[in-house]
Every structure is written in structure tokens, then in C-alpha cells.
């Protein structure tokens, strides 16, 4: 049957030899790209599961747990004080930062959606900073002047309002029928009531997209904390992670906490396994959630791309 069908296709629909070769080549390239993308992450995952000493002696990529599966490092890491402090702080910032973002941005978007009279003036106010900003140092000084430096508040507020989110939300709000809001207002509902009781429940999907972006942003952010925080008790996970992955002295200290009693040389052998495990545990929530939520992320980019 298949060959029959082939013979019947019109000559201009037949694919030339070159095109067939290209298809094969294209699929091969894609497979290579998949390998290149996954290999480093797989290496870290397998490294974290490996036996620390065998891993230290192993050179090259770890394709399987070297020297058998060992979960000792995980046990060490998740009971580590720095790790717990960082994890707690990051969750705190992610939750409250995201709630702030959703609240502020949806309120701002509602104004832009409902009050057309001042729309241009307000939108201009939000667009100008896209093209010209004060820069790092003036921002830092303003934060210091306002007493926000070295506080948890700045971790929640910094970046909480964004033009991008407001545009996405305004688009979603504008898609709701006008009559819905008008009739609620005729029944005596104020704008706050309308927003929280009618508009937001109907745009849950958009809120979820923005919420996810915001959570991931907070989870992965380290630079804001690096600039504006001082106290270790307030530091998010990524700051501790940076010390362990990228600062030799801090890595050594951390190791000494883990391996109290063992000699310097012994503990040196545990460096790799410890680093891999820390990286893994910090990224795990994202890796686990990713397959379920990734289509929302793509949707979010699409909405923004069309509008922006």
C-alpha cells in the first residue's frame, strides 16, 4: 500500500535526495543537541549519587553512579545548617515575593484596563525605565537612604512590579466581557470587589503563569541578595550554593563541618560529591516541577511576545 501511495504522489510533492539527506542530518543534529543539553545535568545527578571516594578518583563524565549508589552525601547536605537556612529563606522570599507581584501587578493592570483616560500617561511612566535607568549605584544608594538595605523587605520588593507582567495581565483582563464588570458595578460593587471577586477568579490561568515565572525567578536569584543583604541568617539558598560551588575556602569549611574528625586529605576527596549533591538538591524542585508546568511557561512567553 505504502509504495503505491508513493508512486501516486505528484512529482513536485516528492522529496528530492538532498532533502531526504537533510532530514536525516537534521534529526542527528537534534539528537546531539539533546545529548549536549542533558549530559552536564546527568553528570551532576550521577556524581551526587556516586561513592565520594571513587568519584574523586574517576576522571571524565560520570554516566552512572561511580562505585555504586551512595546516599550519604544527601544525608549530610539536607541536615546541614547553612542549607536549611538558605532553603527556608528562599521559600520565604519566593512565596511572599510572588504574592506581592501578583497583587501589585494585577491591581496596576486593572487600572490600565479600566481607566482609559490616563492610560497613555501611566503607560509612558512604565515604559521610560525600560530605556533609561539609574543603574546599580544610584539604586543602591536610594535603597540605603530609604533604610531598605540589609532587610528582607528588599528581597520581596525588588523586581516585584514589572511592565511585562502588567501587560500580560492587562491583556487577560481586557479579554473579559465589559458587561460583566459593568453589571457588577451597577449592583454596587466597588472596583476592589470587582477585581478580587470577579476578574481574578476568571484569569486564574494567567495568574498561574506569572506566579510560576516569579517563583522560579526568586528561586534562582542570587545577585540581589549579594548586593543588598549582609546577614547570613537572611541569605537565600543560591548564596550558600555559590560559596560551596565557587569559593574554595568556603567549600573547605563546609567540608570540615561534614567530616569532623577526618584528616584534611581525606576530606578533600569528598569535595566533588558534596558540590554535586548541593547543586542537585537546590535544583531538584525545579527539575521535578518542570515537566508538569513547562507548557505554562511557553504560553507565558507567547502572550508576552504577541503583545510586546
Amino acid at each position: 500500500m505504502k509504495t503505491n501511495y508513493r508512486k501516486k504522489t505528484a512529482p513536485w510533492l516528492r522529496r528530492s535526495k538532498g532533502e531526504k539527506a537533510f532530514t536525516v542530518f537534521n534529526v542527528l543534529i537534534m539528537l546531539v543537541l539533546i545529548a549536549i543539553t542533558l549530559l552536564p545535568m546527568w553528570h551532576v545527578f550521577m556524581g551526587s549519587l556516586s561513592d565520594p571516594v571513587s568519584l574523586f578518583l574517576h576522571h571524565g563524565v560520570a554516566l552512572y553512579p561511580i562505585g555504586g549508589i551512595s546516599l550519604d552525601m544527601y544525608k549530610n547536605v539536607i541536615t546541614d545548617n547553612n542549607f536549611l537556612t538558605g532553603y527556608g529563606n528562599t521559600i520565604f522570599y519566593a512565596v511572599f515575593g510572588t504574592l506581592t507581584t501578583l497583587l501589585f501587578c494585577s491591581m496596576g493592570a486593572y487600572t490600565l484596563c479600566r481607566r482609559r483616560m490616563l492610560n497613555n500617561a501611566l503607560t509612558t511612566m512604565l515604559i521610560i525605565p525600560m530605556f533609561f535607568g539609574g543603574g546599580l549605584i544610584p539604586t543602591y544608594l536610594v535603597m540605603r537612604m530609604l533604610g531598605l538595605l540589609y532587610t528582607r523587605t528588599i528581597m520581596i520588593l525588588m523586581g516585584s512590579v514589572s511592565l511585562y507582567y502588567i501587560i500580560v495581565l492587562r491583556t487577560a483582563f481586557s479579554a473579559l466581557p465589559d458587561g460583566l464588570i459593568e453589571s457588577a458595578k451597577i449592583d454596587g460593587a466597588g472596583d476592589f470587589m470587582v477585581l478580587f471577586r470577579i476578574v481574578l477568579p476568571l484569569t486564574k490561568a494567567t495568574l498561574a503563569v506569572i506566579g510560576l515565572f516569579s517563583v522560579v525567578g526568586h528561586w534562582n536569584s542570587w545577585y540581589t541578595a549579594y548586593i543588598y543583604l549582609k546577614d547570613d541568617s537572611m541569605m537565600p539558598l543560591q548564596i550558600f550554593l555559590r560559596r560551596i560551588l565557587l569559593e574554595k575556602t568556603a567549600t573547605q569549611q563546609e567540608l570540615n563541618n561534614f567530616m569532623s574528625g577526618s584528616s584534611f586529605y581525606d576530606s578533600m576527596m569528598y569535595v566533588d560529591a558534596m558540590q554535586y549533591t548541593f547543586a542537585m538538591v537546590a535544583t531538584l524542585p525545579i527539575l521535578v516541577a518542570y515537566p508538569f508546568v513547562q507548557r505554562y511557561f511557553v504560553k507565558g512567553v507567547m502572550i508576552g511576545a504577541i503583545k510586546g
Binding site: E19, G135, P138
Partner: protein
């Protein structure tokens, strides 16, 4: 509703405000946020022209005019920072910018939709891994007992394993390469959405005229996503002087400052770590102004050439 033409805008606004004060009030957090985080810092650029000391109030500092600009431009760091910044942003424009476009075009040629979805899902993933972890993995890969050294020693006899991030020549390829690794998948989404909006009839017509796949790509697909490409290019040009300090700070060390110290990292080091506020505010202002000017320029050029522009 008939609007009385005698009503001035002011009166109409006042009436609207009275009736809908709640919805105006809702804009308050956004407005306050923008004032604090965007407009006050713009106003704060003034310290670039003052001799601001942390202990003093801003307005009791003395006015020094362009002294800080002159200091920096004649200083020993200016040329090094400028060169490193330009090399990194140009390399990124050359390699990092086209990567998602080529990837999107190749994805578009895949006929098996399930395979396409799998490729997409996997290549988007690195975008969600934090910069710290990416740099951590990179550091481990290029360390003297890491995987990359093991690979090179297989290919090159007598290779002495070393920490590649401590060697100046390796910094740029590693920096750009890891950027591509993290961004090519996610960056392709924009172009894929532009690709999907191309009229399918165009392809059918081209097929009838006997255009090969390559010709179709050249004459239909590329022109179809050109507006998106030029838009992204204009935005990219606006940041020709800003590499961002975030990732470089994670990767660099004094040993390779000669290739990795850029304008942004200089501002961070001198400003935040050494409290040279006025001096670095001046550098920052110069960077922003030039960036804005270049973006306006590319916008004009792009508008003249193709009719596509940001505004």
C-alpha cells in the same frame, strides 16, 4: 454617554476620579514602586557630578562637574573594560544571537511532531537552572581533574591538565559557550511563534512553483521572521555596553581580569565593594547613555532598511 465638550480634561478627570477613586487607588503600589526603584535612581545619577561621600548628605556634597568622567576615561581601567565589554557583546552577537534562530529553523523542518516536542522540552530545561548552578557545573567541568581536561588529553598528547578558568584565553569561549548552552532552546520560542504565524498558503504556492525546501526557507520562512529578528537585534544593540555582571562575577578571578573585567563588573567592584559611589555612578551613566544612543541609532537604521522598528 455624551461628553459635554465644554468640560476640560481636568474637569473630566476630576469627575472620573471622584466616581472611580478605587481603581485609581489600585495603581498606587505600581506608581510607588516605579518612583522608588526607577525614578529616584534616575534622579540619583546627580551624584555622578558631585563628590559624594557616604557620611555626607547628598546636597552638602560639592559639585565637581565632569571630574569623575574625566578621571575614568583617562584612567588605566577604561580601555581594558571597554575592550573586554565590546569583545564579549560582539562575540555574543555573532554566536549567541543566531543560535536560537538557526535552532528554530531546524526545529521547524522536523516532521515528526512528537520528536519535535521532546527536543523542545529538553532544550528549554537549562533556562530554568540557576546561574550559580550553571557556573558551578562549568567550573567543575573545566577544573584540572574535570571532564573537559580528560577529553582534551584524549585528543591532544602531552596535555597538561589545568584549571581552564584560570587561563585568559579560555574565558571568552567558555563564557559565550555556556550562554549558548543555557539559552538556545528557550530563545527559540519567540522565533517559533513567529514561524507558526506565517501563512501556510505561501508554502503551497511555492511548492507548486517547484521551490525546494531550501528555497522555501530562504524566500518565505526567513522574510517571515525578519521582523522578529530585527526587533531582537535592536534590543540586543541597546545593551552593547552591558554584559551584566551577574555571571562574570561568578566565573572570573583576578588572574583573568585582563579579559573578563568589563564595565559592569568594574562598577560593581569599585562601587559596592569599595564605596566609590560618585565615580562608578558616572561610569554607569556613560554606559546607559551610550546604550540608549546605540539602540535609537539601530532602530532608525532598521526602520530605513526594512520598515521594522521598536517605535
Amino acid at each position: 454617554m455624551v461628553v459635554n465638550s465644554k468640560n476640560t480634561l481636568k474637569k473630566r478627570l476630576a469627575r472620573d476620579f471622584k466616581r472611580n477613586w478605587q481603581s485609581y487607588l489600585m495603581f498606587l503600589p505600581t506608581a510607588v514602586y516605579y518612583i522608588i526603584f526607577c525614578y529616584l535612581p534616575i534622579y540619583g545619577i546627580a551624584i555622578a557630578f558631585l563628590d559624594y561621600r557616604p557620611a555626607l548628605k547628598v546636597f552638602s556634597s560639592t559639585y565637581v562637574g565632569l571630574k569623575h568622567f574625566a578621571d575614568y576615561f583617562s584612567g588605566m581601567y577604561f580601555l581594558r573594560n571597554l575592550k573586554n565589554t565590546l569583545v564579549l557583546t560582539l562575540l555574543s552577537l555573532l554566536f549567541e544571537f543566531p543560535a536560537p534562530i538557526i535552532f528554530a529553523l531546524m526545529l521547524n523542518e522536523l516532521r515528526n511532531m512528537r520528536f519535535k516536542k521532546i527536543v523542545q522540552n529538553i532544550t528549554y530545561l537549562p533556562h530554568f537552572v540557576s546561574t550559580v548552578v550553571i557556573c558551578g557545573i562549568l567550573t567543575m567541568f573545566v577544573s584540572s581533574n574535570g571532564a573537559l581536561n580528560a577529553l582534551i588529553s584524549l585528543l591532544v598528547p602531552n596535555w597538561e591538565p589545568t584549571n581552564l578558568l584560570a587561563i585568559s584565553a579560555w574565558f571568552r569561549p567558555l563564557f559565550i559557550g555556556s550562554n549558548i548552552w543555557q539559552g538556545f532552546g528557550w530563545g527559540s520560542i519567540l522565533y517559533l511563534s513567529a514561524l507558526s504565524s506565517i501563512d501556510a498558503e505561501l508554502y503551497e504556492a511555492a511548492l507548486m512553483d517547484g521551490a525546494s525546501r531550501w528555497k522555501q526557507t530562504l524566500h518565505i520562512t526567513l522574510p517571515g521572521i525578519l521582523p522578529t529578528i530585527s526587533l531582537m537585534l535592536i534590543l540586543r544593540c541597546g545593551s552593547i555596553l552591558s554584559t551584566g555582571a551577574e555571571k562574570i562575577i561568578l566565573l572570573y578571578s583576578p588572574a583573568i581580569y585582563d579579559v573578563s573585567d568589563v564595565l559592569d563588573t568594574y562598577i560593581f567592584r569599585e562601587g559596592i565593594s569599595r564605596s566609590q559611589y560618585s565615580h562608578t555612578a558616572a561610569v554607569g551613566m556613560a554606559v546607559h547613555t551610550v546604550g540608549l544612543a546605540i539602540m535609537l541609532l539601530t532602530n532608525t537604521i532598521s526602520k530605513r532598511l526594512s520598515g521594522n522598528g521598536l517605535f
